[in-house]
């Protein structure tokens, strides 16, 4: 026992000191870290459901859904946080749905690790084509010129996969989450 202590007292002491140091750093920084993680989400919600003043966070079907209301308390729309597999890694996005759930008001990708310069573009102006689309049918991605009544989305040149994965996530929201929204209205 004595030999054990004489060999390892330094390691154990350092272990304890370092653990305290880490705990202290964690406590002082965790607030900022959580805030950072929230910021992207909050900005995205504002973008996909314009004009909102208040949100109420719910969990529907395992996803975080934000019920968005205007200043008067009228239901403006829904912002659904959804994620799924991407080409490189997970893609997280916020999909905005109209109050009646019939239309997609917008899609904003908030987290992705897709190829820089290619798949990365799903975070940019490409997403504008998701504004005001039909949410009652699934979306498909095409390399040709998309037609609105086929519910098609144009793929990013050179990043078809990333575009498809975004559509997959949105389709999942439409098929799985959208029907459940009615009871929370």
């Amino acid at each position: 026992m004595k030999k054990f202590v004489s060999e390892s007292w330094l390691v154990l002491t350092m272990g304890v000191v370092f653990a305290c140091l880490l705990a202290a750093t964690q406590t002082s920084l965790s607030g900022r870290i959580v805030e950072n993680q929230q910021r992207a989400l909050n900005q995205a919600i504002l973008e996909v459901v314009p004009g909102l003043e208040r949100t109420e966070e719910l969990v529907i079907g395992g996803n975080r859904v934000f019920k968005c209301a205007d200043a008067a308390g009228e239901l403006l729309g829904w912002a659904v946080e959804a994620s799924g597999a991407g080409f490189v890694d997970k893609i997280t996005l916020v999909a905005g749905l109209s109050a009646d759930g019939e239309r997609i008001t917008g899609v904003k990708v908030i987290d992705n690790l897709e190829t820089p310069g290619l798949g990365n573009k799903i975070e940019g102006p490409w997403a504008a084509q998701w504004r005001d689309r039909d949410a009652t049918r699934s979306f498909s991605v095409t390399k040709a010129t998309p037609t609105v009544d086929q519910n098609e989305i144009s793929a990013i040149t050179g990043a078809t996969y990333s575009s498809v994965y975004v559509a997959n996530i949105v389709n999942d929201v439409i098929t799985r989450i959208r029907p459940l929204l009615a009871e929370y209205r």
Partner: protein, 217 residues
Amino acid sequence: MADENGSNLRQFREGILDNNPVLVQLLGMCPVLAVTNSLENALVMGAAATFVVVMSNLITSLLRHLIKPHVRILIFTLTIATFVTIADMALKAYMFEVSKKLGAFVPLIIVNCMIICRAEVVAIKNGVGRSLADAFGIGIGFTVALAILGVIRELMGSGTLTLPWGAQSWVLFQLSEGFEPHKWIVMVLPPGAFLTLGVVVGITNQIRARRKQGGAA
């Protein structure tokens, strides 16, 4: 005293040039390939690694008379893991976007061979002054190597040069729209990383061989 300072300075310089951890010793390769797809990522990774190696060398050097041989690797590892955790938390708090892009490579600094190597070779045997000079030299050498690769890959692959600046990245330089179809996307992808590093290492070896010849002649 003057002599010791002289050799501290030489230790520092060696870390950057003759003993560059990436281009000469070929250590710490994994982050080199992974985070050099943009200058911003390269610089932040370099800074984080420098922080860890400096703290690791500092603590090891301060405690060098207390560290028994059997447990030294354990102690080095414990120290490095702690400071990497701190660096990771700091990045997530103050440079969130970059920390997401660096991903798992910040915690992977723990197994960056160059850091534990400095502790084993320099810090455990030398005073604080020498250990710090060594740590800063190695850290800066690492950052310089990363930056060289970062500039090459980002310019050719994305046509931009970005610098880390608080929460957002600062685009220092962006080649015109006309460059867009000419950019070599492969440079920011894995194959480009390997090829760029291979070429840079080859060129470094050539330069060193010439200098040796020049010195001998």
